[in-house]
Symmetry: C2
DNA sequence: TCTTGACGACCGACCGTCGGTCTGTAATAT
DNA sequence: ATATTACAGACCGACGGTCGGTCGTCAAGA
């Protein structure tokens, strides 16, 4: 085979791109290192020159995804005109907007990520996003507590709890996706929507706010994302 | 090798016992099927006669553990004399008592379960215990809402959230265990204790109770469990 | 009581796959 | 010219899982 040399960064990202595509298509375990190098057009030796193990791919991919996600809300986080509650709601609104925008891609990824055999992949993505969001959310809570809007004794712990509440959607999400195309799809989406609505209430309460202050979903959001093609 | 024949149930439990011991000692991935059959004193064929895959061991073990755990609190769950809040607190108190009783074994298991490479093992155990506890906790919340003591619009969702809050302790637990034996051990335990205390408050708020109604920890509990030998 | 035969528990050699290593080489930098 | 980096690809050992066959058990028929 002809030898193609590229800069380390470019090659690394190429590998990450290929791996990410495969992971979101077949899952982590069902994707072999040989699959990845075949897709990227690279040799085994080349791969292991850039990554010391298959697991490193997960780290690289999830780190990139998380960095990305936070970059897209940076302006909201840095806007000095916003109060804590406004900032939090603007952040959540932006997140929803982004999800709506690439709902089809997201939905396709969900199909794979929420399969039981891909638990590890899901968990890593989740852990990475929590790690990135924790300091962000903590800052907002500290801010809100200083403003006297929130009433939270342990901001960092509260941030952790709130972020993990998102993880508790896993099961219902999985169920909803499994029900996709069947007669129960509609009911499953309804239930998921009710759940997400309640999670907003849980956040309100943890922050010491009146119910409904921090909406997690807006009308039609859940259905729009879950039925996207 | 001499052939030893036993009833399917006995053999199955023997295999589960051996596998559980190994998983809690070396973790799931680092335990091979050959390790298990060597420990139990059985052949490869024998093993696959009772289990269709290595993963089935996880299911079997976690199911057993979860069944066990719920059996040990059955009396509290069934006691008609208890109100919902009393029942919930009695349940948590019993759980703590059980943890204190076999703190050394628990602590040893923690050492393995919270290592990053054993994420799958941890997750399965957690998922199984949540699956078992969900209906139990849901019932308590429904009861409490009917009594007018709790104020929860979606009992099942609330149960899910509360159970998942426990999962958010994973990171700090892992950190605390990693700090074991170092100079930071003391500070890590303090922080873990503060976190657990806050989780109690989060539960109070989700249930619509005044802060401090549902204590997650009692003084000295965290240290007692985490420093057990 | 003894034989027979079916069934299920069990054996262990074997296999394919997969993550990872190693030796070597072409391209690039110094 | 030389060192370093980026890559190639044959190879390896370990592991999960399979498969054809064996042996203990027990019940029915002679």
């Amino acid at each position: 085979m002809p030898r193609i040399v590229k800069s380390a960064d470019d090659r690394r990202n190429e590998i990450l791109d290929g791996a990410q595509a495969l992971f979101f298509e077949r899952g982590y375990e069902r994707t072999t290192v040989n699959d990845v190098i075949a897709k990227v057009g690279i040799s085994k030796g080349g791969f292991y020159h850039h990554f010391s193990a298959k697991e490193d791919l997960l780290e690289g991919i999830t780190a990139r995804l998380a960095q990305d996600a936070v970059a897209r809300v940076r302006d909201i986080l840095d806007d000095p005109a916003l109060g804590a509650l406004e900032r939090l709601n603007a952040f959540l609104a932006r997140s929803r907007q982004m999800k709506r925008e690439d709902a089809p891609k997201l939905r396709a990824a969900f199909d794979v990520i929420f399969r039981p055999e891909n638990l590890l992949l899901y968990h890593r993505i989740n852990a990475a996003s929590i790690a990135v969001m924790r300091p962000v959310l903590t800052r907002i809570i500290v801010e809100g507590t200083a403003e006297g809007v929130f009433a939270v004794p342990e901001p960092e712990a509260a941030a952790d709890v709130i972020l993990h509440i998102g993880a508790s959607t896993h099961d219902i999400m999985a169920r909803t996706i499994a029900a996709s195309g069947t007669a129960e799809e509609d009911a499953a989406i309804e239930e998921l929507d009710r759940r997400l609505h309640f999670y907003g209430i849980a956040v309100d309460r943890i922050l010491g706010l009146p119910d409904g202050s921090v909406p997690f979903v807006e009308p039609g959001f859940t259905r729009a994302v879950m039925t996207a093609r």
